[in-house]
Amino acid sequence: MKKPQYKIRVTKCVAHLFLLSLTVITYYQAIIGTDLTGQYINDPVKFVIHFSGMTGLQVLLLTLLISPLAQKFKQAWLMQTRRMFGLYVAFFACLHVFSFWLFELNFQVDLFIEELVKRPYIWLGMLALTLLLALSVTSINKIRAKMGPNWQKLHNWVYLVLVLVWVHFYWSVKATPTETLIYLAIVISLLAIRHKKLLKGLKALKRNEKIS
């Protein structure tokens, strides 16, 4: 048996290498306008918005799969890789919004603000991004220690992020591609695994509302 510390390091290293090289290769292809075999990337702008959005969503799903996996297979060390994945979700979300602003809207500030204000599916994305940034900032150890039990309360909002991102995704496409339904199934499974915790949380929320 290798020490957990070693496993954590290898896992993190592989994840960094994989996610960063994937990002670099994707943006490189979009910038030159052809893929590595010389075929056109037909719409380089949609290509990067799609890549960053989908990778953000996928890494989010992965992040939320870690604790069930760690429990099921008794691999407590996995939990220590979760922060890194969570931060990657925020990274891809930022890249996504930045790509939208820079490449779809040609960096026009007025157009960007107009889109943020006008489009309900973007409100959901914005709310998700805001929550993700809050979670990222509070993942700094010092802040986390200061927050005490409030930290867990805040970080439970990640389940809302999950739902928001899926709806944002579903809303952004025309018609209903199969993909959206596959992701829905995964989202529901991830929530179902935690149904007890989530129901308890919802009840607590309601109680708080009554009190206040």
Partner: protein, 335 residues
């Protein structure tokens, strides 16, 4: 930020150049290989992007027969490369991703074909596959194509004015609209076979025009592009092209054209009536509920930093030829 504006002084490599000359030139540039790649890396040369790195897409397959046609006047805007036009398609019958339809190239049986022209007319008739290419003189028409998703292309179509076909049918006074229908053949169209593969819209795909729109000289029944017959993914063997309307009006692989007296149902309008209207005229002032229509990106050969952002024009720039048909209409209401 590089903003590339198209103007007459900035014309791409393949701009209205006969294909053989265009290919010869590409071969010469390709034989300069190293130099071309250098220019590409330095990002200075737009045309270098049109030269692929490792293989030449246009030379790969050419089972599509070449057509004889009357060439169009030179166009002032750069043509979208053929490889893009034939691999970036919304044709949900073959899957919802834009790259899906190309996977089915050559897999739709187009010969034999039957196109029925009927309805409220004195002379209903049928056209078979050969008729599509031989019954009417073919003309090239270089048109802008504006997708409702805010990207656009410039495409050299080859086809027949729809008006010629409709006149032959001799519509009677009751014919106020024209209804179109796409082939329904689930065995060959996976999107029709499975609700999931087809994105959940209704099949067969149907479209419609008002009779005056159908008779407008711009309205084309295309049977080819870039001088050759249409590949499957672009709507073989015959499709509609209505350049002042969003792309979804230009129904593909048509089997029926019917003259009717009421506004016919149209597929995207049935699917999401608040997003897609019957008229679907390109209009920068009427947003799609989920995105702005004020601007479009012209898909050319460039990468991320050489995108061509252009303001969208009313009627996609064809106002002179078509605006009169809508002069008493509130276009925000009849979108």
């Amino acid at each position: 930020m590089l903003i590339k504006k198209t103007s007459t002084s900035d014309i791409s490599e393949n701009e209205v150049t006969p294909e053989n000359i265009y290919k010869d030139r590409r071969k010469i540039i390709k034989s300069l290989g190293f130099l071309g790649a250098g220019a590409l890396l330095s990002g200075q040369s737009q045309q270098a992007h049109a030269i692929s790195w490792f293989k030449d897409k246009d030379e790969e397959k050419s089972a599509l027969k070449a057509l004889k046609y009357q060439a169009d006047e030179p166009f002032t805007e750069a043509l979208t490369p053929e490889a893009k036009i034939t691999s970036h398609n919304n044709f949900y019958e073959f899957g919802t991703r834009k790259t899906d339809p190309k996977q089915y190239e050559g897999m739709l049986t187009v010969n034999p074909w039957q196109l029925n022209v009927d309805g409220l007319c004195a002379n209903p008739f049928k056209l078979n596959y050969e008729d599509l290419f031989s019954k009417y003189p073919l003309q090239e028409r270089i048109y802008r194509m504006r997708c409702v998703e805010a990207w656009s292309m410039v495409i050299p179509w080859v086809g027949i004015p729809l008006a010629d076909v409709i006149k032959q049918a001799q519509p009677n006074g009751q014919a106020k609209f024209v209804a179109f229908e796409t082939l329904y053949r689930p065995e060959e169209m996976p999107g029709q076979k499975s609700r999931f593969a087809g994105g959940g819209i209704q099949y067969p795909y149907v479209e419609g025009l008002r009779i005056d729109e159908a008779m407008n000289p711009l309205t084309l029944l295309a049977v080819g592009l870039y001088g050759k017959e249409l590949p499957t993914q672009n709507g073989a063997p015959i499709r509609l092209v209505v350049p002042w309307k969003y792309g979804f009006k230009s129904i593909k692989s048509i089997t029926r054209i019917k003259l009717v007296n009421q506004k016919p149902p149209t597929t995207w309008n049935l699917s999401a009536p608040q997003e897609y209207g019957f008229y679907a005229n390109v209009n920068p002032k009427v947003d799609h509920p989920r995105w702005s229509q004020a601007q479009e990106r012209r898909l050319g050969s460039g990468g991320l930093f050489s995108q061509n952002y252009i303001p969208t024009l009313p009627f996609n720039g064809y106002g002179e030829q078509v605006a009169h048909m809508y002069k008493d209409m509130d276009l925000a209401k009849f979108y």
